[in-house]
């Protein structure tokens, strides 16, 4: 296997080069703002830019709202399917795969056509309404990941027994979902949440076409007009994505192991 290991190292090193050189180059580029010396000037400019602060805050808030909406839609549904309607599982799973099949640009195109000022649900007539539609759109995009995360989490707890125990003690459905189910799948929900955050924070297509002041369009604007700040933004975006993924990895370590039941 000696030669096998050699080629394995060659492959790995070449791969590492392809993936790290752009990161190094971007970082180096972002330090070049002050002529002749390396400095963090580009970052200072970016962080000091009120538009950065505004759009980043906007996107962060939208991300949080998306997570909340996602949880509200996915957790009860996944729970209900597991508990009462397992025969619907393939249908629901197919629906959650649709956002991966239908490109985001097509989805937002549909929104623009369907929810304009003259439609029965005129989301686009107001700024707030459009914001709501943006959150909804992001929840749709994140649906596959959120559903899979929560479903995996539910698999490790005995949904039926927990529910029956809670019902005997007098709990109603809302209590059961909020106080019993959700805390037990919290790790999975948080994984889905961080993934959603990573997706939303830099998203461009929906935000741009719905004309919202989000971080994605801001980055694109800076990229069209400035030289060094985009590199700084790219590094910032990468660090955020990396941070979210790392949290998910850490959370995975706290996830409960599969319980011993047939499922």
């Amino acid at each position: 296997m000696r030669s096998g290991r050699f080629w394995a190292w060659v492959t790995f090193v070449l791969g590492a080069c392809y993936f790290f050189i752009p990161l190094i180059a971007t970082f180096e580029f972002s330090l070049r703002m002050k002529r002749g010396e390396y400095s963090f000037e580009a970052y200072k400019v970016v962080f000091g830019d009120p538009r950065f602060q505004a759009t980043f805050t906007y996107s962060a808030v939208v991300a949080v709202l998306t997570i909340i909406l996602g949880v509200l839609i996915v957790v009860p549904t996944a729970y209900w399917i597991r508990l009462r309607m397992p025969q619907l599982r393939p249908v629901v799973e197919f629906v959650t795969l649709l956002p991966l099949i239908i490109p985001a640009i097509v989805i937002v195109f549909g929104y623009i056509r369907m929810y304009g000022s003259s439609s029965p649900l005129p989301f686009l007539a107001t700024a707030r309404g459009t914001d709501a539609l943006l959150v909804i759109g992001y929840a749709t995009l994140a649906l596959p990941y959120m559903y899979r995360a929560v479903d995996t989490g539910l698999r490790t707890i005995d949904v039926r027994t927990l529910t029956e125990a809670a019902q005997i003690l007098g709990a109603g459905w809302t209590t059961i979902v909020a106080r019993i189910i959700l805390p037990n799948v919290l790790i999975s929900v948080l994984s889905g949440a961080f993934l959603t955050f990573a997706i939303v924070i830099g998203e461009f297509t929906l935000a741009s076409l719905l004309n919202r002041p989000a971080f994605g369009p801001y980055m694109q604007l800076i990229g069209a007009n400035r030289a060094y700040e985009p590199a700084a933004l790219a590094i910032i975006a990468f660090i955020i994505t990396w941070g979210c993924m790392s949290v998910i990895q850490v959370l995975a370590r706290f996830a409960p192991k599969s319980a011993n039941q047939p499922n």
Partner: protein, 278 residues
């Protein structure tokens, strides 16, 4: 009464996923007066610039999928079977998770900083090797440049999907093949490649669909000048450049058909390979 529990989900899916899509699909078959017609679909094939944009999209998606799959497979085999230390595998898997989500606008910036006119690699090539790649005709802001950029999230996606399949190759198969007299190459040819083939092919198709629908990176790269279908659609949505809203629907419909068919194949291949590897 059970249906009440899943009603919110289906209502949400209906309002914000299914109906908007159907709206576009129906609109693709209508003209401005609301009558049904196949004209728009025909236009997709007849209009040279639309035809061209589909062609460019297919080209970019095909190459980024195929190359991404091959390189991804090579890396996956290297980390799973290459006899490398275990930190290599976990680091690669972690990084793949990050990189596959690092698509969009920042990715374009990163590659501009690398291989753009003032990019680090461009400058190093010039200063260290005397190679002026832009002088030689290289330009990152082209289809092939975009393909190279797309590999940044295609390769990790391939790694993440194919690694479990490679894990599923049992060590005993190789040993059994050896006791039956097979050389390593015969084992690969007769067992490994056929077993991995459905997963591999299915993932290539998934990568194709993934690239086809992507727009943010391309837009950040070249604005509207790179004529791929999503950008054409974007321009249409912004300003009706086609002077025919229904044609825009047809454009979207064409995208859905292509990504839809691709995903059907992907699911079919996945079901087949999972059945074997039980």
């Amino acid at each position: 009464m059970q249906w009440l529990g899943v009603a919110p989900f289906f209502l949400f899916a209906l309002l914000f996923l299914i109906l908007p899509t159907l709206y576009l699909v129906v609109g693709a078959f209508q003209n401005a007066q609301g009558e049904y017609t196949l004209d728009n679909i025909a236009q997709l094939f007849l209009d040279a610039s639309i035809r061209n944009s589909y062609w460019v999209s297919i080209k970019i998606s095909f190459w980024s999928a195929t190359l991404g799959a091959i390189f991804g497979l090579a890396l996956a085999v290297a980390i799973v079977r290459g006899g490398l230390p275990s930190w290599v595998r976990s680091a690669t898997m972690t990084f793949s998770g990050v990189a596959s989500n690092f698509a969009g606008v920042p990715l374009a910036f990163a590659f501009l900083a690398t291989l753009g006119r003032l990019g680090l690699v461009t400058i190093l090539m010039r200063d260290l090797f005397g190679l002026n790649i832009y002088g030689m005709g290289f330009n990152i802001l082209t289809s092939w440049g975009l393909i190279v950029v797309y590999l940044y999230f295609q390769i990790p996606l391939m790694i993440v999907i194919i690694t479990p399949a490679i894990d599923g190759l049992k060590k005993e198969w190789g040993e059994a093949a050896a006791t039956l007299g097979a050389t390593t190459w015969q084992y690969w040819r007769m067992v490994v490649i056929p077993v991995l083939w459905p997963s591999f092919l299915g993932t290539v198709i998934l990568l194709f669909a993934n690239a086809f629908g992507a727009i943010a990176t391309a837009y950040a790269f070249t604005g509207s000048s790179l004529s791929i279908v999503p950008i054409k659609l974007y321009a249409q949505m912004r300003g009706d450049v086609l002077h025919n809203p229904n044609l825009g629907y047809a454009l979207a419909f064409g995208m859905i058909v292509i990504t839809g068919i691709a995903n059907v194949f992907y699911i079919w291949f996945r079901v087949r390979s999972e059945r074997w590897l039980k």
